[in-house]
Subunit: 535 residues, 2 copies
Amino acid sequence: MRHVTIYDTTLRDGAQAEELNLTAQDKLRIARKLDELGIHYIEAGWPGSNPTDASFFDTVKSHTFANARLVAFGSTHLNRTTPENDPNLAALLAAETPVITIFGKTWDMHATKALGVSLERNLELIRNSVAYLASRVDEVIFDAEHFFDGFKHNPEYALLAIRTASEAGAARLILCDTNGGTLTSELSETVKAVMTALPDAEIGIHAHNDSELAVANSLEAVRLGATQVQGTINGYGERCGNANLCSIIPNLELKMGIQAIGPENLRRLLITSHFVSETANLRPFMRQPFVGASAFAHKGGIHVSAILKDSRTYEHIDPTTVGNSQRVLLSDQAGRSNILFKTRELGYDLDKTDTTVDALLKELKLKESMGFEYSVAEASFELMLLEALGRKPDYFTFRHFFVVDAKREEDAEPFTEATVIINVKGQAEHTAATGMGPVNALDRALRKGLERFYPNLSEIRLLDFKVRVLSGAVRDTGGTASFVRVLIETGDRHERWTTMGVSHNIIEASWQAVVDSINYKLLRDDKRRAKEAKE
Amino acid sequence: MRHVTIYDTTLRDGAQAEELNLTAQDKLRIARKLDELGIHYIEAGWPGSNPTDASFFDTVKSHTFANARLVAFGSTHLNRTTPENDPNLAALLAAETPVITIFGKTWDMHATKALGVSLERNLELIRNSVAYLASRVDEVIFDAEHFFDGFKHNPEYALLAIRTASEAGAARLILCDTNGGTLTSELSETVKAVMTALPDAEIGIHAHNDSELAVANSLEAVRLGATQVQGTINGYGERCGNANLCSIIPNLELKMGIQAIGPENLRRLLITSHFVSETANLRPFMRQPFVGASAFAHKGGIHVSAILKDSRTYEHIDPTTVGNSQRVLLSDQAGRSNILFKTRELGYDLDKTDTTVDALLKELKLKESMGFEYSVAEASFELMLLEALGRKPDYFTFRHFFVVDAKREEDAEPFTEATVIINVKGQAEHTAATGMGPVNALDRALRKGLERFYPNLSEIRLLDFKVRVLSGAVRDTGGTASFVRVLIETGDRHERWTTMGVSHNIIEASWQAVVDSINYKLLRDDKRRAKEAKE
């Protein structure tokens, strides 16, 4: 069976997307998820270019990945210097990654116009930079920027540029359709010419989607012998985005008989896609192939009756192979097996015929129709599961909260104060706190009431807080009166967990997520203690 | 020059999209716009299948189109009847369109399983239906449903089915990739086989996007000789959508040298795309090729400096050919030239040496270091610019706000109330309002105080509301006490705009964004009135 390697650049080229902004923490979380998906290379940033990337590479040094090789990205050395004295190459080496990718000019016009060097000097920059790095790291990958445009204008020079990189020690040559303007038929001819000219080189493809052809172009290059595909999760990237790995990987695995991440990992595709969009706080694209909410949703009457006879009639693949599921709009059938799958994953052994499964399915459908999205908040799902099983411990009971924000013209920021009443172990606790905002004030007042009983709560840190207006509702009532979903990520010294709340009211949605987060912490501590007592 | 005809099915197959619902009036407005774009065929609905379509065909009879031929869509006649007695065929003829498209089964499994007829009887249904309609309307088009899957399983039968339609009088045979699962390389081989088997037939292509290959597949069929492309505006359609005409048309016109709608009409592509998404009340897809807001947006410093030298360096086509334009995003790398570019774009003619440019650059960098991101909130940028120029009108002045959220154990959601004091035109306005949440309550109270003075404010709708915790701050103080950035998207009947606020306190950040949004609306109305007075 043929293999290709998948090279993800969500954290570097993907982050060039107009609406995408990732913190160093976001990047680390996404890198972990990509590793779990079985991605072979993770291009994590351009260490010389900005403080976020520099801070990320510092943090990531202490982390080991199970599958993925981490890649630092940069350019060939500057014209005015030498590799030894080039600040960019130094920053690349300082990132201490096993792999370095550098891009170089292969379009003659770019060398002379954008870079302002002679064609011969440009080849020197490539040769020097690759050779310098190749003796210092495991693997150097050469990104041939604008290769297809370059080949169109001056095929000899474009080939000479990549040949130079190859001879200087680049392990792979990546043909980039940087502007995304190349038609599949043109790309096909160009790739054939490269294969003929450099029969022994390892060739990869890096496509952009400006002509809506990035997936087709990537698959065509692989069909002709490319052994690496570069792209991003959900096709995020500058302008119209990069080649979408969420479409390329299943096409390779399920249709072309080529192994990329393998069938087991492939089932994690949907969850990875959601994880990245949620972390970037971007609305998932419903019509996205393979992993979109609508990808296997059937609306028309004829289609629905046909798929009930045989799902192949209107589905090109089995949706479960990518972690998705069939949805029949109006009368939804999906669920039972999903519930069993998830509860087993969490360590609760339910029987197929258990009535809890039905109760849970009903609750799940109700909650999801309101906008809850449990795939990104498994801590909240586990709490809901325990509730349905009648096994959720009663750590505290809500009685009342009250929160005020007031601002006068002379204030820079509002004054915020919250009061909370809860019952804990038979006692009513009434606490008050100020805060940097209403959610912070509520969170502090609640913890003030609880920490006397549960001192471990002082360990937890709220790591992230995200709010999303849910689509659909927006149209009915206008933005500020819509349903909002709040996601909170919390951590202690053992782990991190995500909880969720949904409401018309952002305070209420945040409160739900904070309450879930605290309950989850107390639950995990109990479990840990029980386990330790056993051992 | 080669020509192909464009067949739009936004109103029929497009309306199968999960989120798309069109009234008969919506359909008529879209049909007019498609006609203006120079579309050759408009498939307007399935008259026998639902009341919206029946009502639409009644209304449209009185309308004449400049370019487009209207098409009614339906299926071959029912097994239990004859063409003369078939209610579907009768409804098609009653629509009185010059063109009728019927689909028939060409995948053997579909004939026997989904339809439940013998293979021979299926050919009879096709033959009878096409022949009956062909003698009664100008043109009958045959949609070969599941043609590519059918050809894979039983090529002889698939070819026999379309040959039958052709011999019965179908003017065109449309090869449909109904499930959207066909790889471009497979499709290529199949189209070649059809061209060889039926060298005199007019062949068309109807692709779906389930493998993210619909555009590539449509272009490949045309390259091999297909003379018609079926698709939808923005790629709307069931599951992952239909082939996207907004990408296919410019690829044909600008890259393949094939005339579809002509270069003059092509400039209307962006406006048509927006018109359809607005009419369908769907959020435009930013990363959409050719017509998306991000399609020619440049963020990275290297890219920006290169396109200022020569836009071909990072743009595959001239954006104005499809009605789009180049955008330079404001970001923390922004320098003097970005500021000048942006202010000129907004219609403010600043000189390079103007001290306002320095003041603005300083303010921009300060605000961006706090977490403001003007590239996504240009309305807030314009207000900041006016402030720097000393030309921001004083519509109202803030004095005070006070907002309360209270929840007791018996409540499902908190009770929320806001009071606001502002000065408007010399008067103090003190108003109060409840809301679905604190921001909604504040927004309502503020507008209550303003609408008496500025009645146009009743036109605006808040379309989206996004909250993001900003990097850096998260680590220092924990999630709920971090800096948050709120983005609000607002619209009226003329346009949409985005404003922004940043604060530790989500209420304060939201308040800033709401205040900017209202100021921007009042500013735009003033500008519009001034322009009208001049004309």
